[in-house]
């Protein structure tokens, strides 16, 4: 086999990313109406969270059933900023007038700053995931325990948001948002901009993940997934490896959640629910949990399928969704993307070696 061709194959995922970028950044904005493009943007948010889930679940073996928690943290951070923007420089959000003291709580105040908000979107979920991850993985809580715990935490977070109506807007959430960093949310030109930012973030996340997957960290992560105790005897603490992947996944979910808010125009506790978290998993499972592009493509497909099926069969689409879960997990556990490139998965294995041969 020609070495040059093989080396080219090493970058096959990059070509996949490039094709996806071409579709998201060039074709879609040209072909879709503002409304459909906005929808696609929301799917991209799920895809961003999905890429993280692919990392933590597909490569790391942690079934992160509670990504709604991190999606929600990012979304509420962004929502708080936009809500304050909508309220105006000196005013407080309407629900605080209705249910609270009418005085902005101290921990809300920093979210007036856009820079602080952006930092918070990354830092807060990272810290939460770090503490949670250390607590859980150091105690060797894993598998089903971890999945159920993370789901329970998500439900608890949702209930917290509901109960603290004077700080969070309760069940109704943060709504009636009007601007995004000063740009009118409902101006089609701005909508397109917000979409483009989201799509670019998705592409960047894919590139970061591409690098992680080909790095030694990526290898150790797979090793940890398959033989956690064995990894301990290579001198690594598998808890640390898992925590790193978990934190990255949390940050990605948070960024996805943050970008979701300007496109949905609101955020409320339903987006943080157990169901929302499982829907995020659904896309990843459909696309192929352990692949690079699978989670992103799966999230886009599930988002699109959900919209179009519920438009076509508003009464019956739950059947499709349920059937999809059953069929995919049962018959194509490695996802749709595993079916198409079965062929080059074999090459995939060899490509790393060829690269080494060349490098030596």
């Amino acid at each position: 086999m020609n070495a040059r061709v093989m080396a080219f194959k090493a970058y096959f995922p990059l070509i996949g990313i490039a094709i996806l970028a071409l579709f998201l950044l060039v074709i879609a904005p040209g072909a879709l109406s503002s409304f459909r493009l906005n929808n696609l943007g929301k799917y991209c948010c799920y895809a961003i969270a999905g890429v993280g889930i692919g990392l933590a679940w597909g490569r790391g073996g942690m079934l992160v059933l509670g990504q709604g928690l991190f999606f929600g943290l990012g979304a509420y951070a962004m929502g708080m900023h936009l809500k304050l923007e909508a309220a105006g420089p000196d005013a407080v959000p309407d629900f605080m007038m209705n249910f609270g003291s009418g005085v902005l709580p101290a921990w809300w105040a920093p979210f007036r700053s856009g820079a602080f908000t952006i930092a918070a979107i990354v830092v807060i979920p990272a810290l939460v995931a770090l503490v949670l991850g250390l607590a859980v993985f150091k105690r060797r809580i894993k598998g089903a325990y971890f999945a159920i715990l993370s789901q329970a935490l998500t439900v608890a977070f949702g209930a917290l948001l509901v109960s603290q109506i004077k700080y969070t807007g309760g069940q109704t959430g943060l709504n009636s948002l009007s601007t995004f960093f000063g740009y009118n949310l409902y101006d089609p030109v701005n909508k397109k901009m917000i979409y483009m930012i989201t799509a670019v973030i998705l592409i960047v996340m894919l590139l970061i993940t591409f690098q992680l997957y080909r790095s030694r960290f990526g290898e150790v992560l797979i090793a940890t997934r398959d033989q956690e105790e064995r990894v301990r005897f290579l001198g690594y603490d598998p808890a640390n490896i898992k925590v790193v992947a978990f934190v990255i996944a949390a940050i990605m979910a948070s960024i996805g959640g943050a970008m979701f808010v300007p496109m949905a125009g609101l955020i409320n506790p339903r987006e943080v629910s157990a169901l929302a978290s499982i829907m995020l998993i659904a896309g990843v499972a459909l696309g192929g949990r352990a692949t690079l592009l699978g989670p992103a493509i799966g999230a886009l497909v599930v988002g699109y399928g959900r919209t179009s099926l519920s438009e076509a069969y508003p009464d019956q689409w739950t059947y499709f969704l349920g059937a999809m879960f059953i069929i995919v997990i049962l018959f194509i556990p490695n996802g749709l993307t595993s079916v198409i490139p079965k062929a080059w998965q074999a090459l995939n294995r060899r490509r790393t070696d060829i690269k080494e041969v060349e490098a030596v």
Partner: protein, 294 residues
């Protein structure tokens, strides 16, 4: 003092319901390692069975007596079907069973909606459960007492089944060492099916009980499923005595927290307490010793 008594009783009622729901899970999750998210929908099927029984036997006083075994069989058969068609293909893929059964739960919810309509169905409680008995100055509702007695009866029944019958020994043998059980002539496949049948059937029984305290509608199982899994996890997977203690602990904790804070915060704080508890005892109240590396 009144508060302590009333909330202990109210909490015990929450706990008894949780225990009934969780009991089936200690079998399917605990013994077989299947994370069955459709367990809540088996409960729903049990509740609708109670409704159907009441359509046939309109006298609510006696229909519940027929409803209990009928619900057990209906939910059990649904479980058996699930085991044969889906679960049997995915042992050793614990986490995947969660997702696949989540899909099943969606389908079952929609099916219930299509069969019975979206509106909740009224299942009448028997008149002999109407009223209260005074205990320590607290008027304990008979329905709650019934659920408590039912759950304890199920615990005793299940425990003796596992302990004293050949079937129980075969289940335990299969759980402890599949291959070995196989070589001594246990048909592990039939054991799997029977275990799943009983575990799911118990959810059906819980469904009948739950008609006494909540609406019978297609999404009713969702309210209990996460609580029930937390009971199993906190109790120690596969441990019935652990589940009993965990269920009552969770129920009573929730009652007092609801009393002192509010309904939403009680959910938040109870869940957080379980997470903290698992920090202290990652294997739950009662740990099963395993010698496997993974």
């Amino acid at each position: 003092m009144d508060v302590v008594i009333s909330q202990t009783f109210t909490g015990a009622s929450y706990g008894a319901t949780l225990l009934l729901v969780a009991l089936g899970l200690t079998l399917t999750f605990g013994q077989m390692g299947v994370i069955n998210m459709a367990h809540g929908e088996f409960l729903m099927a049990g509740a609708y069975s109670a409704y159907m029984t009441q359509q046939l036997i309109t006298n609510a006083d006696i229909s519940i007596i027929f409803a209990l075994p009928f619900a057990f069989i209906v939910a059990g058969l649904l479980g058996l079907l699930l085991e044969v068609l889906v679960i049997s293909r995915m042992y050793h893929r614990t986490l995947d069973t969660l997702l696949v059964t989540f899909g099943v739960s969606l389908v079952l919810q929609q099916a219930a909606k299509d069969i019975f309509g979206a509106q909740a169905k009224a299942v009448k409680a028997p008149s002999w459960l109407h009223g209260q008995i005074p205990i320590f100055g607290y008027r304990y509702p008979l329905t709650q007492l019934f659920i408590l007695v039912l759950s304890i009866a199920c615990v005793i029944g299940l425990t003796s089944l596992l302990k004293y019958t050949g079937f129980g020994r075969q289940i335990r043998a299969t759980v402890q060492n599949r291959d070995l059980a196989e070589t001594v002539g246990v048909s592990t496949r039939s054991i799997d099916r029977l275990t799943f049948f009983i575990g799911s059937g118990l959810a059906g029984v819980a469904g009948v009980a739950v008609t006494l305290i909540t609406a019978t509608e297609s999404t009713m199982g969702q309210e209990y499923i996460i609580w029930a899994f937390l009971v199993v996890v906190a109790g120690g997977i596969g441990q019935i005595k652990g589940a009993v203690i965990a269920a009552f602990a969770l129920g009573i904790t929730r009652a007092f927290l609801t009393y002192w804070t509010d309904g939403s915060m009680a959910v938040v704080l109870t869940f957080l307490l379980v997470v903290v508890f698992l920090q202290v005892r990652p294997q739950g109240l009662f740990a099963t010793r395993t010698r496997s590396l993974a």
